[in-house]
Symmetry: C2
Subunit: 352 residues, 2 copies
């Protein structure tokens, strides 16, 4: 605390990201990174751009990347916003499109950065409880509100809302922006990007951190009709003219172009998830149906906190949330087969 702080900064409750340990030899299944490396084409594009040109500012509009993303989703470049990771895109979204007189709505169990953004931008919010099976029910989001935001699949549950239910959410909220945070959509869901031309109130947010294996590069984007994108651009241009450096733009353009590699690694993660789920179930875990690159699981006879601590003692990191309703669950990233086998081995011993 300092007398020089603004009242706002003193009142903030910052987000705590999953641990990024500096020690080696850990089985790191705590921050939903992709176990497969980025496409070789991405690494080649970055290396090709690592030269004298770095002395120059990047294109502040990142036009090449917007075009590449637009092509991938059959949209127009004016329907694409890009940022320094989807967290930055989310932050600008709270400021530009979710700050209204009425409270916004999001699930009570969800990405825990949302209330933090509300604190930063003075956005009022009302958490909407998931149902008993930890599912989102669009009917719970009817009625006047300042906006709606939810991850799809939801985090940390991994549960997917089918596209028809997303459509229902949009139809129920014609006067609010509905933000679908699709960080994990490529691992089992159908993107709401296809609904953008139809719904002026839809904003879809994605990231290259997960399904494109580029958490270390920091690129996220939003898709929506041009007036929503323009609102985001106004905030971006009041914050930082050049959020994406030259290497991030070059790597991201190459990532969007390599559809074959994307498809192969995506399917490998999905297959790994199914094996991990089977393995956990054979140890007696209850595993929520997941459409993400992680699973959310609990054991009827063991506390989540003690399992997480036991795994950690054996150098296996998973994520555990001290939060009502989900405190006995572990969120486990789908790693390589070897990593998942090691996890199951340690869990078997802990549960014995």
């Amino acid at each position: 605390m300092s007398r020089f702080w603004s009242d706002l900064v003193a009142a903030l409750t910052p987000y705590t990201p999953g641990e990024q340990p500096r020690v080696e030899q850990l089985v790191k299944l705590n921050t939903n990174e992709n176990p497969y490396p980025p496409s070789p084409a991405v690494l080649a594009a970055i290396r090709a751009d690592t030269g004298d040109g770095l002395r120059l500012y990047p294109d502040p509009e990142a036009g090449a990347l917007k075009t590449a993303i637009a092509q991938r989703y059959a949209l127009d470049a004016a329907q694409v916003f890009v940022g320094n990771g989807s967290d930055e895109v989310l932050a600008h979204t709270f400021c530009a499109l979710l700050k209204h007189a009425r409270p916004i709505l999001f699930p009570d169990v969800t990405y825990s950065f949302y209330p933090t953004y509300c604190g930063l931008y003075g956005v009022d919010y009302r958490p909407v409880p998931l149902d008993a099976a930890l599912r989102i029910d669009p009917e719970d989001y009817a009625g006047e509100n300042g906006g709606v935001i939810f991850p799809n699949p939801n985090a940390p549950t991994g549960r997917l809302l089918p596209l028809e239910a997303v459509r229902r959410m949009l139809d129920l909220n014609p006067d609010s922006v509905v933000v679908v945070d699709e960080a994990y959509i490529d691992f089992g869901g159908e993107s709401a990007a296809a609904l953008v031309p139809e719904y002026p109130n839809l904003l879809v947010i994605q990231t290259l951190s997960k399904s494109r294996s580029l958490a270390g590069l920091r690129v996220g984007f939003a898709l929506g009709q041009a007036p929503l994108i323009e609102g985001l651009e106004r905030v971006k241009n009041s914050f930082n003219s050049y959020p994406l450096g030259r290497l991030a733009i070059a790597g991201a353009v190459a990532a969007m172009a390599d559809e074959a590699y994307f498809e192969r690694t995506r399917q490998a993660v999905i297959a790994g998830r199914e094996r991990l789920t089977t393995g956990l179930e054979s140890l007696g875990f209850e595993v929520l149906p997941s459409a993400a690159n992680f699973v959310f699981a609990r054991h009827p006879a063991h506390r989540g906190e003690s399992l997480a601590a036991g795994l950690r003692a054996q150098r296996v990191l998973v994520r555990h949330f001290r939060q009502p309703r989900i405190e006995d669950y572990l969120r486990i990233t789908v790693g390589t087969d070897a990593q998942c086998e090691r996890l199951l081995e340690v869990l078997e011993a802990l549960c014995a």
Copy 2:
């Protein structure tokens, strides 16, 4: 405009960065980039990190970079904040340390992003006129205020405030944060970093875009006593946990380590500025004394706007501001000798 925008976004006046043209063969002296490439050690460090590790998140604290910067300035890592370019660092500073009940003070002729940040965060401000010679006088900043911010050397004038005058500014404002925005300090000034241990109200902001030739990488930082830095960290962790990607961290660490290259290119820019100044003066221009990698100059017989347009027609870009007091000035980046010669050649014809 859209009915989905927040009132805030509708009221913003976004910043307009200098043009980043996509055509080649331009003499680009409009955005104060360094004419010399980044250090070869920087490029090697980035290439070495361009591998499978990009699938993993970066260190959210960028600890290695904070340590490298702290060593360079004989400070502690807890006295260093890092961000995605100094524009992001400035944005967080307005939110964390300059948003108070009283208006903040900054020069009437200065970096034009400051009023934009005020709009974004609802910060009241009062511009303080430069003196007749376009200089900052610390005595004009006495009296109660919510904070003080100024670039040193100032942009776009290039004029330097000596360290003793910065100290006077700090002594005059013991109850306000004084932010010294040192984007250009390495080209001729003495950094206020040395005053950090002495003044709890001092925040120094720098960038790797100019004197480290890394505008394309996006890295900036702030130096201050730990409580000020902690305020910035709280905002950062409420906005984006991972503002710097792995390649930005690797490149910036290498840049801070290569002091010899930094010194050589810095001196080359300073020598180029002296030649450019002499050349402009020989054409009849009045050139303000500059401590930056640009000069601010006007011709008694020619309008700034028409000179900028004439240069542009000959594929030479400089920056011109349509703003009272400085509308007849051109802001000209110190380029390579060849670029400066081409500029002078075109100006000679235009002034003939």
